[in-house]
Amino acid sequence: MIMKLNFWVFLGLFFLLGLFPARAGDIMINGGWQKVIGNADTAGAGMDIPSTYVSNPGAGVLSINNVTGNWSIYVRRVDYNWPSGVGLALRRNSNGNGGGPIVGGEGYVEITPGDGLFFQGAGNVTDINLQYRISGVSRLVPPGSYGADIIFTINEN
């Protein structure tokens, strides 16, 4: 009987807590980058095409809202027709507006299929500029279109 009562008390607490779940915050991104590597990028006959290309600073603009404390941003990618040997990285160009200090992500972080820590901070922050980098391009990569989905995830610590 006592065990049964404890169970229902726990169940009640569980759903009560469920009304106030630990939030993960909201994350938004604007912008994007589409790079066309054409004749203007070549260095001339006898030279391989440049291997590295970077987007403008602010190719992506990240905002974090509805957080109450510290948070971490993770990033990963899902490739579709991405050439082997070509790397994809990104970095943070600004601290954005609002919130507390942001740590990490100032240097290029390689984006892999698994979640990797990008940067950490606290509070609501808007307009964090992101810059992308493609590396490892060469004449060995056949002409064509390539792409990947970049997935940003926020976790409140």
Partner: protein
């Protein structure tokens, strides 16, 4: 009791999973690589001058290896063709040999004319610089005297099929 414990564990796991799941957002990144087929030469060969023709059936030939070419392509199975803007004068000819990029097939002493001819074949994803060009100008005894004349050689990298 075992049933309650199992249910409680399941609920705790469910709740923790819910509480810890982060919100995600996706940005799509695209890039496109065009087709690069670039070829360049270092300059023009020296003028071919024959002062005296060999008599009878013996041809007179002089060669020039003073120029080079460079190539960049990210394509598959490309080839290099060469052609003149007009045919050579009668009883003379101009042949060319290009040093092939590594792994490619080169034809030796290819006679040039107003029709394009294959000089190098089987070029895929190659970058090579300063490869040799050897021209051989020949005339037989019937060529007689020729004043200065010019031929423009067009070198093209194109689809090998």
């Amino acid at each position: 009791m075992k049933t309650y414990f199992t249910v409680i564990l399941a609920l705790v796991a469910l709740y923790l999973g819910w509480a810890m799941a982060g919100n995600s957002v996706t940005q799509t990144l695209n890039f496109q690589i065009g087709s690069f087929n670039e070829i360049a030469v270092s300059g023009d060969p020296d003028r071919f001058v024959i002062d005296r023709l060999n008599p009878g059936p013996f041809r007179t030939e002089i060669t020039d290896s003073s120029t080079t070419y460079s190539i960049t392509t990210n394509g598959e199975n490309r080839k290099i063709t060469m052609q003149l803007d007009q045919n050579m004068p009668q009883n003379t000819d101009l042949k060319v040999t290009l040093t092939p990029p590594p792994g490619c097939q080169g034809n030796l002493e290819v006679p040039l004319s107003a029709n394009a001819v294959d000089v190098i074949t089987g070029i895929s994803h190659k970058v090579a610089a300063n490869l040799g060009i050897t021209y051989k100008f020949g005339a037989d005894s019937k060529a007689g005297t020729l004043g200065p004349t010019t031929r423009v050689v067009t070198i093209t990298i194109c689809n090998g099929e």
